[in-house]
Point group: D2
Chain length 456, copies 4
Amino acid sequence: MCAIFGIYGHKEAAKLTYLGLYSLQHRGEEATGIVSFNGKKSCMIKGRGLVSEVYDEKTLASLKGHLAVGHNRYSTTGLSSSKNIQPFLVNHRKIPLAVSHNGNFTNTVRLYRELEKEGAIFQTSMDSEIIIHLIVKSKKKDIKEKVIDALSKIEGAYSLVLLIDDMIVAARDPYGFRPLCLGSLDGSFVVSSESCALDLIGAKYLREVDPGEVIFINKKGLNSQIAFSSPRRSFCIFEYIYFARPDSSVFGNAVYKIRENLGRALAKEAPLDVDLIMPIPDSGNHAALGVAKEARCQFEFGMIRNHYIGRTFIQPTQFVRDFRVKVKLNPIKSLLKDKKVAVIEDSIVRGTTSRARVRTLREAGADQVHMRVSCPPIKFPCFYGIDFPTCKELVASKYTVEKIREFIGLDSLYYLSKEGMLNAAVLPKGNFCTACFDGDYPVKPAKKFSKDILEK
Amino acid sequence: MCAIFGIYGHKEAAKLTYLGLYSLQHRGEEATGIVSFNGKKSCMIKGRGLVSEVYDEKTLASLKGHLAVGHNRYSTTGLSSSKNIQPFLVNHRKIPLAVSHNGNFTNTVRLYRELEKEGAIFQTSMDSEIIIHLIVKSKKKDIKEKVIDALSKIEGAYSLVLLIDDMIVAARDPYGFRPLCLGSLDGSFVVSSESCALDLIGAKYLREVDPGEVIFINKKGLNSQIAFSSPRRSFCIFEYIYFARPDSSVFGNAVYKIRENLGRALAKEAPLDVDLIMPIPDSGNHAALGVAKEARCQFEFGMIRNHYIGRTFIQPTQFVRDFRVKVKLNPIKSLLKDKKVAVIEDSIVRGTTSRARVRTLREAGADQVHMRVSCPPIKFPCFYGIDFPTCKELVASKYTVEKIREFIGLDSLYYLSKEGMLNAAVLPKGNFCTACFDGDYPVKPAKKFSKDILEK
Amino acid sequence: MCAIFGIYGHKEAAKLTYLGLYSLQHRGEEATGIVSFNGKKSCMIKGRGLVSEVYDEKTLASLKGHLAVGHNRYSTTGLSSSKNIQPFLVNHRKIPLAVSHNGNFTNTVRLYRELEKEGAIFQTSMDSEIIIHLIVKSKKKDIKEKVIDALSKIEGAYSLVLLIDDMIVAARDPYGFRPLCLGSLDGSFVVSSESCALDLIGAKYLREVDPGEVIFINKKGLNSQIAFSSPRRSFCIFEYIYFARPDSSVFGNAVYKIRENLGRALAKEAPLDVDLIMPIPDSGNHAALGVAKEARCQFEFGMIRNHYIGRTFIQPTQFVRDFRVKVKLNPIKSLLKDKKVAVIEDSIVRGTTSRARVRTLREAGADQVHMRVSCPPIKFPCFYGIDFPTCKELVASKYTVEKIREFIGLDSLYYLSKEGMLNAAVLPKGNFCTACFDGDYPVKPAKKFSKDILEK
Amino acid sequence: MCAIFGIYGHKEAAKLTYLGLYSLQHRGEEATGIVSFNGKKSCMIKGRGLVSEVYDEKTLASLKGHLAVGHNRYSTTGLSSSKNIQPFLVNHRKIPLAVSHNGNFTNTVRLYRELEKEGAIFQTSMDSEIIIHLIVKSKKKDIKEKVIDALSKIEGAYSLVLLIDDMIVAARDPYGFRPLCLGSLDGSFVVSSESCALDLIGAKYLREVDPGEVIFINKKGLNSQIAFSSPRRSFCIFEYIYFARPDSSVFGNAVYKIRENLGRALAKEAPLDVDLIMPIPDSGNHAALGVAKEARCQFEFGMIRNHYIGRTFIQPTQFVRDFRVKVKLNPIKSLLKDKKVAVIEDSIVRGTTSRARVRTLREAGADQVHMRVSCPPIKFPCFYGIDFPTCKELVASKYTVEKIREFIGLDSLYYLSKEGMLNAAVLPKGNFCTACFDGDYPVKPAKKFSKDILEK
C-alpha cells in the first residue's frame, strides 16, 4: 500500500504535503518523497524511512512553490533501490512531470516490453515511470488529452496524483480499487488517499474522486471529467477492515463506524460467554468496542502497547520466546489471571503473530482464550496493491478454521461471514472487491504472473 | 524521572539490561547507558536518544559480562552535556564502580562543596558522581560498609543500582519516594524501577526493595539489610496517576487497577450527564474506563493517536493552530458531532495542552466538552525527581478551578479530591508523598534552592 | 576534467577499478562511481567526494564481476545533483549499458532537442546519457555497429569507456583531445586516462588508444577499428603543462620530461640573475628543476606544502590575509630572507592565487621575486573539457603582461612563448590543440554557446 | 608525539588556536581538542580525526573567549577511548583548569598510585589528569605556587600549556626534551610547539620557552621564572631529523637548514658514484638537496607522491605487492630506467617500508639502488614521547648494517655517524638527547617499565 497527496495553489504547498504525508504514514513506512514546483523550477526530496526522519526544516524550506505532490511507500520485498522511491520526476522539454501512485497495474510487463521496443530507457521498475513514458509518447496534442490517452492504456488498480508543469492531476481507475478524496483549503485544492490528512491541515473535505474520473487543477481552477466507465465498482473492503485510519472517511463512510459494525456483526453471529472482551491495540479497538456493546460484555485493555518500538530492535537469544510480540504488547497479568478472555483481531494472515500473542495471554494467566476475527478467512493474494503473501503462506488458504484454531492455540475461533462483513460495510454489496476472500478478481492479472502467485 | 535496572549472574546480562531499559523507556527518553563487567573488564555504552537508537547489535555484543547496570534519563533542562548521561562509571584502584540513580538529593550543594574542599575533582554535575566520591573517601574497611557509610550522608530521594567490582548493590532511600523492585531469572537476580521490565525478560517478580534497604548481590547470592529507618513512608503517588506503566506493579499494587479506581472515584464525586466518556489516549485509558463503568456511560475512542510521531517535527506556520496536539491526536468528527463529551485527563500541569485538545474537540463538532481529572490540582514543584515546572508555570498554583475551566474552554471541570485519590490508591494514606498537591514536603530541601523554586 | 577507467576479464575488476581511480584522483575530486557486471547482474556505487571517502571494503566487495568501468568527476559549477555522477547506467531490455566520459560534446543541445522530440526522457544533464539514447535508438542490427552509429552523431571531445553487456568499449574522438591508454594485466585488458593507473595495479602499458579508434573487448579478446578519420590531431597541450600526473605517460610521452623541457625552454628564453629557483610545490617541481638545470642556478624548496588540507576549512576573520594560500604553502623565512628569488608557476588563470603567494614570499623577507610561467598567457576558454573560467575572468584575456606583473606584484614576469612550448612538447606542432592560448578552436562549438562564453 | 598551542588576550582566541593546530597537524593526527574561556564560562570541543574534520564553523564559533589552549594527539596503541583526548578539562570550585601536554612522565605509575590512595578518582589514563590532581591537592596558597609545586613532583619529559581561570601557563621540563616557543600577536601572547604555527596566524616569533621555565600570562601581562634547574640540556635531536616541519624554527634553529647540513655531512662521510640523488618525498627533500649540493650530483624527483591518500584505504588482494607504498609513492619509470640511484631516507625504524620502496624502484627499472640515512641506526626506544616500537621491532637493535642492507635489498647502505649528526645540529653536542641511538637516557624511567620495553 501507499499514500498519495497533492495540493495546488498554496504558498506553503510542500509543508502541507509534508503534514499530509505525516498523517498518512500508516499507509507506507518504507520511504517518502515530495516534489514541488514554483512555475519555474521543480524541487524534490526523497529518502528511505519515516516522514519524521526524511525531512527537516532546511530541506523542506528548499521545496519552493505553490503546487506539490507527495508519496509514502510501503515496504515491498526485493525493490530496495532508492531510485524506486516516489514521486517519480522527470523534466521533459523543460517541463516537470511527477507521479505519485497507489495501486498495481496488471499489464505492466506488456507495457514495459512495448515501450522498450520503441527505444524507451527505464530508470526504475515502478509503474509510475511507465505512466510518464505513455504521456510523453502520446500522439495527442493537448496535455490533458495526452494524460487520458496514457491512462487508457493502463489496466489494473490506480489512484494517482500527477504534477505536470503548473497543474495537478488526480485520477482513479474505473473500478475505484484504492481510495482518493478531494478537499479545499483557503482557495487551494487538495487530493489525498484518506480524509485524515485533510483534518490535520485544516482543509475541508469535499468528496471522493469518482472511479474513472480525471481531475485537472490549475490556475483556472478545477476541471473534471469521467474519462473511463466500468461495469462495476470494486472498492477494496480491506481498507475498512484494517488499512485505513479509523478517524478517516473512506469510500464515503467513517471507517471507525464500519469497524464497530463489524464487531457488532461478530457478536451477533457468534455469541460469547466470557469475562471480558479485549482488542489487539490499536487496530482492533473499534471492532472490540462493537463486540462489547452488542454482547453487553465488559471491554478491557488487556494488553499495553509499547509506544517506543523502533523499527529495528535487537533480538535476544532463544530464551525470550515470542520476544517480538512481547516487546510491543505486554499483557496485564493481574487483570487476566484466571479469566475467560475474548480477543478481537482485525484479520489473520500467516497466523504466527496471533499464535504468539495468544501464548503470552496464556502465560499471563488467562484461563480461556477465544478469538473473534472481524473478516472472513483470507485465502487469496491481492493484485491491486495490498502486500499479502502468496497462497502458500496464507494460513487460511491451506488449513480449515479448526486447524487454525489448533495452530493458534485457542479455545474457540470464529471468522466473520462474508455476508456479515458486506452488510456491516453499508454500501451495496456489489461495490466491493472481495477477491482476497473469494478469489473473484474484478480485473484479471496477466496469466503467467497470477499463475505463479496463486500456485506458489 | 529516570529508569534504573541491574542484573547479576546471567551470561546475557547486558542484553537483558537493554531489554529492561526498552520496557522502561517511558521513564526517560533523553539518554541511556549500560555498564557491564565480566570480572576483569568493565564496558560502557552511552548515548543521547531512545534505547532503540543508542544500541545496536554490535555495540551490545561488546558489553561482555555476567553483571550489568543500566539507566534511562529523563529530559531535564540545562544539563545537556553528554558527560551527564548515566550510569556514571569510574575505575578506582583497578576496580570498576558504576551508579544508576533515580531521584534527587536535597543536600547536593553541601556535599559537593565539602568534597571539593578536600581536593575531589568532579567531571559532571550528577548526584551519581557524588555517591562514587563518598564511597571512595569512606574510611570504612569493607566495601559494603563503605557503601552504607556513603548513603548515610545523603538526604532526599533515591533508588539506586550500583555495580562495584563483582557485585550489584540495590538501595532505596528511607522514605521510599521512588519505586524499585526485585526479581529472579534462571538463578540470577534482577533489580528494576518497575515490574514491566521483569515481564518482558520473563523474570519472576519477587518483591519491592524496602525503603531504607540495601541489597548486595554477588556470587555468594543475595544479602540484604535495612540500613536506614525512617518515621514514615513517602511513596510518590504520581507514579500511580501518570508516570508508571499500567501493566506494572508499583509499590506492591497493579497500576492499571488504581487508575481504574481513580476513575470510579471521579464518577462518584462528580456525576456526569453526557453522551460519551473518552480518554486522552493512552495515558487516560484506564481512568476513563473506570469512569465509564461506574457512571454506566458509554466509553468511546474519540481521538486517534498517531503512532509515528518522531521526536522532532517541523512546525508549519501560523495557519495550522494547535498543530502539536493535532498531529498526535486526531478527533473522529463523525463520532463527536453534536455530542456531549466527557474527557478524562490524568493531570493538568500548565493547562496549555489541555486547552489545545479541547479546542480541537470543539472544532470537530462536540456540543459540550466536560473534563474530569484523576488527581487534585498540582500546585507545588517536586524536589524528589519529577520534572514539574516552577510554581509560576503550574496553572493550579496561580488560578482557581473556575479560572482554569475558563482558560481551557470547558463546560465543566472537576479535579478528584485528595481524599478520593488516597482512597483509590489502596495503601494507608500516610504512606504517600502528596507534596505536589499540598506542599507538605517529607524531606526539606536546602533553603536557598527551595525558596528560588517556590517563589519563582 | 575527468578520469575514466575500464577493465575486462579480471576477477577483481571492481577493486582494480577502485585502485585505478585512486591514482587518477587529480583529474576529478568532486564525485566518483564504479559499475561492474558479472554476466548476470550489474552493480553500481556512486557518491560525492574523494575515492577514499566514497568506497569502503563492504561496498567494494558488493561490486561483483569480471568487468567494470569507473569515473572521477571534476567539480563543475551548477550541476550539483547526485544524479549527474558517472558512470551513467541503464538496463535496457535486461542488458546493462554504462558510460564513463571525459570531454565535452559541442552539439549537445541539438542532440538533446532531437531526442526529446522523439519521446526520449532524460534523467540527467550529462553527455553520457545522450550516448546511451543514441545507442538504444540506433537502427543498426549489431551492437558494435550501434555504438559506432551513435558516436558518428557526436561532435566535440570525448574519451569514453562503455560497459555494454559482457563487453568493454573504449573510444576516442577523431581529434584525440583527451588522453586514453591501453594496458594489460594477467590476460585482462585495461583502459585508463593516464598510465599512472596502470603502474599502481601492476599492469603493462601497451599503447595509446588512437584518435578515432573504437576498441571492443570481450571474451573473444580485443577487436579494434579506426571508425572515424580526421584532418588533424588536437591533443590538449594543457595535459602536459598542468593536468596529468608527472609520473604518467600521456600522448605517448613522459609528462615529467616535457615539464622539465618547458623549464629548460623558459631558462633559455628569459635568462635569470637570482639567488635561487623555487617551484610552487608540487605542480611546478619539474619545470623548476628544468629551469635550475639549464640556468645552472640553485634549486631550493622555498615553500613547504601542508599535506593535511581538508577540502573545507574555516576562514578566520580579516586579520589573516591570504589565509587560503598560507595554510597550504608556508615560505621558509630563514631561507628566503634578503634573497633574489625566481618562482616557477605552471600557469596563471585568474592571477589572484599567484598574487597572494608572491605577497607571502615578500612578507617572508624575499628581496626580489621574479616569476616564470611554463606556458603562454591563457586568453580563451576551453570547449573540450577543461574548466577554465570565461574570458572575463582570465587575467591574460584582459590585461597585458606588464599589467599582470604589476597586479601580482613581481619584479619581473615572463611567460614561455607558444613556439617554445610546442618545441618542448616533442610531438609535431600540428598535433596539439592550443586554443586556450590562441583561440584557434579545432571543432567549432555551437554558436550561441560560444558567443556567450567568449564575450562574457 | 603531540602538538600543543595556547593563546591569551585575543578576541578570536579559539579560531587562532584552530589555525595553530592546523599547521601542527603533523605532530598528531589521531585526535584534537580546544578549550576556551571568556572569564565566565569554559567551552570545549574534542574529537577523533584531523583538525579539518573535527571542527566546523558552527562549533568553532561556540568557543567564546579571549584565551584558549589546544592539542593534537598522536596515534598511540591501546588507548582508544575518546576520554583520552586532550586538553583535559575540569571545573574545580567553579574555576576551569585545562591541560595540553606533549611528552611522557617517567614516574606516572607512582604518582597515580599515591593519588588514588588519597581518594582521587581518575577519569582517564593521561598524564594531563595527574597534573590537575597535583595542582588541586597542593597545599600552597597561591595558584602559581600550586602549579610549581605540582610540576616539582613530576619526572620526565613535558612541554605544557595550562589554562587556569583567566590565565595561561606555559612550562617546559628542566631538560627541555620537547620544543616550545613563545610569540606575540597584536598584544596577545602565543605559545606553540613549533614556530610554523606562529607564521600561519601572522604572529611574531619571540623566543623558545627555556628548559625549567614556567611562564604565567594573564591580564597583567607575562611573568616568567626559571622554576627548575638541571645539570644538562636534552633536546630531542629526532625533532630535527624527522619530526618537526622544515619551515619551523625549533630549539632556536631553522629545521630545513639542519636537514640540509645532515645531507651534506652524509655526502662527506660516504661519497657516491651515482646518476642521480632522490629523496623520499617530502620528509627527505632537504637532506637529499644537501647531499646533492655537497656531492655535486643531480637532484631528481624520482618518486611522485599521491596527495589524496585518505587515512584508510582498501587493500586489494595479494597480487598488488607493496600496495601501501605504491599508492603513496609512484616511481617515474622513464627517469629511473637503467640508472644508478641514491635514495635519501631520514631514518629507518622497522625497515619494512624502506624495503618495499626499494623494491618498487627496482621494478621501475633502476640499475643500482643505494641508500643514505640522515641519522645513525635507531637501537633504543624513547621514553620521552616519540612512539618508537620496542627493541624487538627496531631493525637496528637486532641486526648489523650489512644485514639490514641485505634485508632492504640495497647495493649499498650508509647511516650518518653520531658525530656527523651532532655537528650538523649546530648546538653544542651535550645539549641533545641521543638515547634512541646510544641508550644513554638522561632521565631514568621506572625500572619495571623500562625493563619490559628494553628486553621485549
